[in-house]
């Protein structure tokens, strides 16, 4: 048995595999030249990102294999900070979505994105809380995890690599992600 096999019972090799799995479904969102943020390859030929990342009717997406595609905005919800993009063509990988409300406080979460231009950077943490951060505010997955500009619109995933939310912004050291039930409702409504 190699040392690597011996270590496979620990969580460390799982994290490397998880990072790879998430990188395959995370795109770079650009305006053609400049990085705007990250996005998640959604099932059935869509990409979900933040409304504050894509302010125009179109955006360029760079996939993990280096391919670049143009995408058109199909729906936008500024309040929820979500945008749905349609990607022409087929054969793109897609993220596996977690069941809405499957996250538990304390459970492991991982984010992949392009913080400050660093491609495919992984950050890990746990779910700190689920709910608003101010009175009457909207509900967030609040994660004890480091986000930086460029992470916006990227995936927040559980330990199995299933998407539990879309990263939106940082509040101090806390990461705020739009929860899966909100994202699923938005995508459902946009597709009609």
């Amino acid at each position: 048995m190699s040392a690597r096999d011996a270590a496979s019972g620990t969580a460390l090799p799982d994290i490397a595999a998880l990072a790879e799995q998430l990188r395959r479904v995370t795109v770079e969102v650009t305006d053609g030249s400049q990085l705007l943020g990250s996005g998640v390859l959604w099932p059935a030929g869509y990409v979900v990102t933040n409304a504050h990342v894509v302010r125009r009717p179109e955006a360029s997406l760079r996939l993990v294999d280096g391919r670049c595609v143009r995408a058109r905005v199909l729906a936008r919800d500024r309040d929820a900070d979500l945008v749905l993009l349609g990607v022409p063509g087929t054969g793109l990988p897609a993220a596996t979505l977690a069941e809405p409300e499957s996250v538990r406080i304390g459970s492991f979460v991982a984010a992949v994105g392009h913080p400050l231009g660093v491609r495919g950077a992984l950050s890990t943490g746990i779910v700190c809380a689920i709910g608003p951060i101010e009175r009457q505010g909207r509900s967030w997955i609040q994660a004890d995890l480091h986000l930086a500009p460029g992470n916006s619109g990227g995936p927040l995933a559980d330990a199995a690599g299933f998407i539990v939310g879309v990263n939106s912004r940082a509040a101090g050291p806390l990461a705020l992600a739009v929860p899966m039930n909100t994202v699923a409702r938005f995508v459902q409504a946009a597709r009609g």
Partner: protein
Amino acid sequence: MNGLQSLSNDLAAAVERAGRAVFAVNGRARLGSTGVHWRPGLVVTADHTVHVDEEVTITGPDGRALTARVAGRDPTIDVAVLKVDAPGVAVAEVADSDAVRVGHIVLALGAGPRASWGVVSSVGDTRMLHLDLTLYPGFSGGPLVDAQGRVVGINTSGASRHWQLAIPAAAVNRVVDELQRRGRIPRAYLGVSTQPVRLPEPVRQRLNLDQQTAVIVVEVQAASPAAAAGLTIGDVIVSLGATRIADPTDLKSALRPDRVGESITASVLRGGEPKDLQVTVGERPRRG
């Protein structure tokens, strides 16, 4: 299920389990803090978050608001104990904090519950636990929890903006034991004011001392335990019992409530010569 998923489930289960004994404490005007149902009817929190002296409202994990009474404080380690009638609220499972090692994964819980995670980054001289994790606003007084959901300490960010600390469960137990034994937490004192002082290299070498600093006595209160033991201004206290005294904070933390009445050896330097004095730790007279 892979190793990461099982770790994730363990952490979530630990939060759920420990969270059943967590209270929100409204002991100061702006920001609430967290407390732990340490023993039946006794909730432990961080002393610096309780600005009131008598009644304080606390909210249980079930959302019930209860009135608690401040039963005792030990500001030397930042612990306050509240007495409350809280039937039906789980009592925390407290683990042996001496088994906590640098590198262990730990969780910090705030009322809600909210959670953050990290590792134990060092264990201090007085076994204070230094943490590599974020204590979010309101987390002070909350439990530091191991991966099994057992409480190994009480978190506090009161000591410093830069250090995230936990008071080890063993120290909290000592305070709670004193409270249960005497009905209050006495404050131990010697009756001296001190300042840090650098030990001259020749003195250190001659006396085989590994510490760079000690404390010099700048005031001895009349009729105090220090006066009775013969401590005088100018004495340099090097150790108290088995505890090395490198600065006034060490002296403060050596004076634990359970030491009131105990006779301990104060090793001092007087005129550069070592001298041992027996001092009986007194109880600081109460106000009013």
